[in-house]
């Protein structure tokens, strides 16, 4: 049996996923990294993107993540995500309408409302990622 690592994906609201896996691929701000067992200890910031988890040989699970952190230590990968959702759980209709709403709000915002624009962009990005990851499995 191949060596495994524990993967935990937690958001402030709940534990999204926890499982013994063989590989985790996560989108750090410097680029995508693949994490295998015996990885050296690492803390890195994540950007919005997709997480892939491989387990039981060839099973793969996909997650959309809205940014956060990953900590790797002694074959344990903890992903602290601002928001995360499994590809099978993504509500495509809701993401699509949320995206439209964000786009509309964005268009109406005055150019100097930087904080609001940032928030809007974040929402928009998160919706796009969800839509992108939704079909994958």
């Amino acid at each position: 049996m191949a060596r495994t690592l524990i993967c935990e994906i937690v958001t402030p609201e709940r534990i999204v996923y926890t499982n013994e896996v063989e590989m985790v691929v996560a989108p750090t701000i410097d680029g995508e990294i693949g994490i295998l067992p015996l990885h050296s200890p690492l803390v890195s910031a994540l950007k919005p993107g997709e997480i892939r988890v491989r387990f039981d040989g060839d099973e793969v699970e996909w997650f959309a993540v809205a940014g956060g952190y990953v900590q790797i230590h002694e074959d344990k990968v903890i992903i602290l995500a601002d928001a995360a959702v499994a590809s099978s759980q993504i509500d495509v209709d809701r993401a699509r309408s949320a995206k439209e709403l964000a786009e509309k709000r964005m268009a109406e915002l005055p150019v100097d409302a930087e904080a609001d624009i940032d928030a809007c962009e974040r929402d928009l990005k998160w919706c796009e990622i969800q839509l992108e990851v939704a079909g994958k499995k």
Partner: protein, 293 residues
């Protein structure tokens, strides 16, 4: 003595009020459990987050960060006042509002400008009534706050603190001690106390030699705002649980009072009825005696 029909009407009305308060009590009881479960669900994230913060802080020791820095001058502060959208929860809201008011008055007497962010319709209405326009007013979130709400509140204060527009940020909310006890609490959000970071660093696992990407300082820079957001989120959740706790207590005593009132009204009703009967008998006896003569 009040007439019989009036008393009966009162009894019916008190009974129906009691039914409402009892239902509200039961609803609140159910909601406390849910709110508590949410607080529990947030714990793993908070714990892991402190662990990461500790590891980062250990390697970025002495790193300076605008959110950790106390400003020399104190000109403007922000108070986040967390209340509920709905009343009927005893002193839940008034405790918070009184505490906010005290803080504002104290700071203003020292020449500090105080801005207010309100959560819940109660705080919004209270401050507007007093001629203080909140810089942001959140409503319809106090019942089931999300992390995004916390993020949005943080987005109002973190950049402002970083660019020295604001020299202190406080949050006032009801801490959930247990189902029967909630107490208003003042918590300093910014600047983040150095001790928080130092303690987290002391608890960190010394053995692990972490790598950081891009580097420890940058991760810390990203992590500190998240830390503030987590604290705000926690405060919002505690407030939600407290709201239901306070409402349950208030509704329980309202229900008890209603029961007591019904008992005393029934007693008055029976006494009045008895008096009427006695009166009637006396009249009949009197009438019969008059006929005999």
């Amino acid at each position: 003595m009040a007439n019989l029909r009036d008393i009966q009407k009162r009894i019916v009305s008190v009974e129906s009020t009691k039914q409402i308060t009892r239902t509200m009590e039961m609803v609140a009881t159910a909601k406390i459990k849910k709110a508590q479960a949410k607080i529990e669900a947030a714990r793993p994230y908070a714990l892991s987050m402190m662990e990461v913060l500790g590891n980062v802080a250990r390697f970025a020791k002495g790193a300076e960060h605008p959110l950790l820095e106390e400003h020399v001058e104190r000109k403007r502060i922000v108070v986040v006042s967390v209340t509920s959208d709905r009343g009927l929860a005893g002193a839940f809201n008034s405790n918070i509002l009184r505490m906010s008011e005290d803080l504002i008055r104290k700071e203003e007497s020292n020449g500090v400008v105080v801005d207010v962010i309100t959560v819940g319709k109660k705080a919004g209405a209270y401050f507007r009534y007093r001629g203080i326009e909140p810089i942001a007013a959140y409503r319809d979130i106090s019942d089931k706050p999300t992390f995004l709400d916390a993020k949005s509140i943080a987005a109002h204060v973190i950049p402002a603190y970083t660019v020295n527009d604001v020299d202190g940020v406080y949050i006032i909310f009801n801490r959930f001690k247990n189902v029967a006890e909630q107490s208003p609490e003042l918590h300093k959000l910014l600047p983040i106390e150095q001790s928080v970071v130092e303690e987290a660093a002391d608890d960190a696992d010394i053995a692990a030699e972490y790598m950081f990407e891009p580097d420890a300082e940058s991760v810390l820079e990203l992590l500190l705002p998240t830390y503030v957001e987590t604290i705000i989120y926690r405060a919002l959740m505690e407030s939600a649980a407290s709201e239901h706790g306070a409402r349950r207590t208030a509704m329980k005593s309202a229900t008890d009072n209603a029961s007591e009132m019904v008992t005393s009204l029934s007693r008055t009703y029976n006494r009045a009825r008895q008096a009427a009967i006695t009166n009637e008998i006396a009249e009949i006896v009197g009438g019969a005696a008059a006929l005999e003569d």
